[in-house]
């Protein structure tokens, strides 16, 4: 069954009504085509209205949509000859992160992404896209390999966060994330990061230190989930909707805060409505990024990466 989001219910209701009328006219003599036309016009304005005025909480729902395309879906659309590699060589293989090499416009690239499932079975296998340290270490292993073979790195970000578990802490979740941040800072190949769904805190950032950071229009990127923020700030997880607004987590917010380079538009109703179109939109931005970054010398690349991060922040000097 298709998942219907709260804010989309009026649209679905109206669609059902129109379908009902159409059905009715089929078996009856009464001509309702005028009424149907009016309703269809109303539907068009309603859709226009709702999707043009998405609230932060609506986008949170969209970013978490069960049918929203995942890293592997985009890898299928954007690249050819993807070969997946496994394991961190220390502990195990974390399926919450996929990594491998593929062709992008006839050039080899390294692709790494958080991977969640679309149903319960796959979500269990993928740990709901929440990595353990071995996931981050696998990612780093592939980044280092990309550096060795001079391949650009493309990171697809889509996680609620690093997994908050006992074993994850024992194996050094903090160190694994910290190490990735530091090593990504110095990689001598271009890194393009694209937030495709949820960008959840340090667990997202551990694949997110790059030269260009792009975000799908309805993706979110945040220091904490709206639920977590509400619990922490107001001791009430039910205020998540308010937190989604206060915490400024949409692509538009992040662009304004100077964190994100480009917002990648989504088809009306979200990426899951038309993954082909979504892939085309991503492709346009990705190509422009890589064209620009691959033309830079290594020194320039690293210098610009440093400048990019050095700029981020809001502070003043008191007299």
């Amino acid at each position: 069954m298709k998942q219907v989001l709260e804010f989309e219910k009026p649209i679905v209701n109206l669609k059902e009504k129109i379908a009902e009328l159409k059905n009715f006219t089929k078996d009856s003599e009464i001509d309702l085509s005028e009424e149907i036309r009016t309703l269809e016009q109303r539907l068009a304005t309603l859709e226009e209205d709702i999707y043009a005025n998405l609230q932060p909480w609506d986008r949170v729902q969209m970013a978490r949509h069960r049918e929203r395309p995942t890293s592997l879906d985009y890898i299928d659309e954007l690249f050819t000859n993807f070969i997946e590699f496994h394991g961190d060589r220390y502990y195990g293989d974390d399926e919450a992160i996929v990594a491998g090499i593929a062709y992008y416009k006839d050039k080899p690239v390294t692709v790494i992404g958080h991977q969640r499932g679309k149903d319960t079975k796959e979500n269990i296998r993928r740990n709901f896209g929440m990595p353990h340290p071995e996931g981050y270490r696998k990612a780093l292993r592939h980044m280092k390999q990309a550096e060795k073979f001079n391949r650009p790195i493309i990171c697809l970000i889509d996680t609620k966060g690093a997994y908050p578990g006992k074993a994850a802490e024992e194996r050094g979740q903090s160190e694994a994330i910290a190490k990735n941040l530091m090593e990504m800072a110095g990689l001598t190949v271009p890194i393009v990061c694209i937030v495709i769904g949820e960008g959840g805190s340090g667990g997202a950032l551990a694949l997110g230190v790059g030269d260009h950071i792009h975000m799908l229009e309805n993706a979110t990127y945040s220091v904490i989930s709206p639920e977590g923020a509400a619990a922490l700030l107001w001791k009430d997880a039910n205020l998540a909707q308010k937190a989604a607004e206060t915490m400024k987590i949409t692509s538009y917010d992040l662009k304004q805060l100077g964190v994100v380079d480009n917002i990648i538009p989504e088809p009306r109703g979200g990426a899951h409505r038309d993954i082909k179109q979504q892939a085309v939109n991503i492709d346009k931005v990705l190509k422009a990024s890589l064209d620009r970054l691959t033309s830079l010398s290594v020194d320039d690349l690293l210098e610009k990466r440093w400048e990019k991060y050095k700029r981020i922040g809001d502070y003043t000097k008191m007299e």
Partner: protein, 286 residues
């Protein structure tokens, strides 16, 4: 007569009421947070806020830490005047900052600068958990980044004492990005041969633990310090299982290979001095 005086000695002692036991006069006395034994504040302070009875390490303020480590009069502070904006226009944030400025006498939850430890120069950052729980926002990220840059320019080692509840919620994703910003600075510093020593103190959690705190060339922690990425309650809710008492303590991390040493506060200065001595000219001994 003298005998009479002694004879009149009361035969009973006053036992303080339960309420009275809790009412330790602030300022003069200090009750250990762990064993609850009461000491003169002065005595506790002389012992670097380590309980003389049970060895519990109470938090030090940034300036207490500096006093405990640096040769007298050698510490120079950097970027004292930097202070937060309110990038999300978060309601009440400015008031909260102002309140903590007054409470702590600091402009932010970190003091950075340089000084001498046993005659050897080093750049230094120390976080103070009494300012907004030591949470990391734009100012903390910027001050630490500048301290690392200064260390690189002046060819000094960089020592950092962490104490933080994690990211500063009121600055949203900008606080998250400070993890990346400081990491880029550290990478540049490290590639240039800089020595970085990290000492995690109670508490070092969330974004601070998952960035600079964990990537020193040498990483230490004070006994009993709480260190971890995710909060205990969140983990317990996620895995639906009660966690052991020592979970996410310095000792727990040490047991799991995440730390070089757990170091008693009394031994810290000597250890740092020894490390600085062994890494002169960026550790290049040839």
């Amino acid at each position: 007569m003298l005998k009479d005086f002694f004879g009149k000695k009361k035969k009973y002692a006053t036992i303080p009421s339960e309420q009275g036991k809790l009412d330790v006069p602030e300022g003069l006395m200090k009750k250990c947070d762990s064993c609850h034994k009461i000491y003169y504040r002065k005595e506790m302070k002389k012992n670097n806020n380590v309980c003389p009875n049970c060895g519990y390490h109470h938090p030090l303020t940034a300036w207490e830490r500096i006093d405990s480590l640096f040769d007298e009069g050698t510490f120079q502070e950097w970027d004292k005047q930097l202070t937060s904006g309110n990038p999300l226009e978060f309601p009440g944030y400015e008031e909260k900052l102002e309140k903590d400025r007054i409470k702590t006498g600091l402009n932010e939850g970190v003091v950075t600068g340089k000084g001498m430890i046993d005659g050897q120069g080093t750049a230094f950052s120390v976080m103070d958990s009494s300012f907004r729980m030591g949470s990391m926002g734009s100012v903390m990220g910027e001050k630490i980044t500048r301290a690392i840059e200064n260390a690189q320019q002046e060819a000094l080692p960089f020592i950092i004492f962490t104490a933080s509840g994690g990211a500063r919620m009121q600055e949203g994703v900008l606080s998250l990005m400070q993890m990346a910003k400081t990491s880029v600075a550290i990478k540049r510093f490290s590639d240039a041969g800089g020595l970085m020593i990290s000492i995690m103190t109670h508490p070092t959690t969330g974004g601070v633990s998952a960035s600079f705190a964990s990537i020193g060339d040498y990483t230490f922690a004070e006994p009993g310090a709480l260190i971890g990425f995710a909060g205990r309650r969140i983990i317990e809710q996620t895995i639906r299982e009660k966690l052991p008492d020592d979970f996410q303590t310095a000792e727990f991390l040490f047991k799991h290979g995440q730390l070089d040493q757990v170091v008693h506060r009394h031994d810290l200065k000597q250890l740092l001095a020894a490390l600085l001595m062994m890494h002169q000219k960026g550790g290049n001994n040839t």
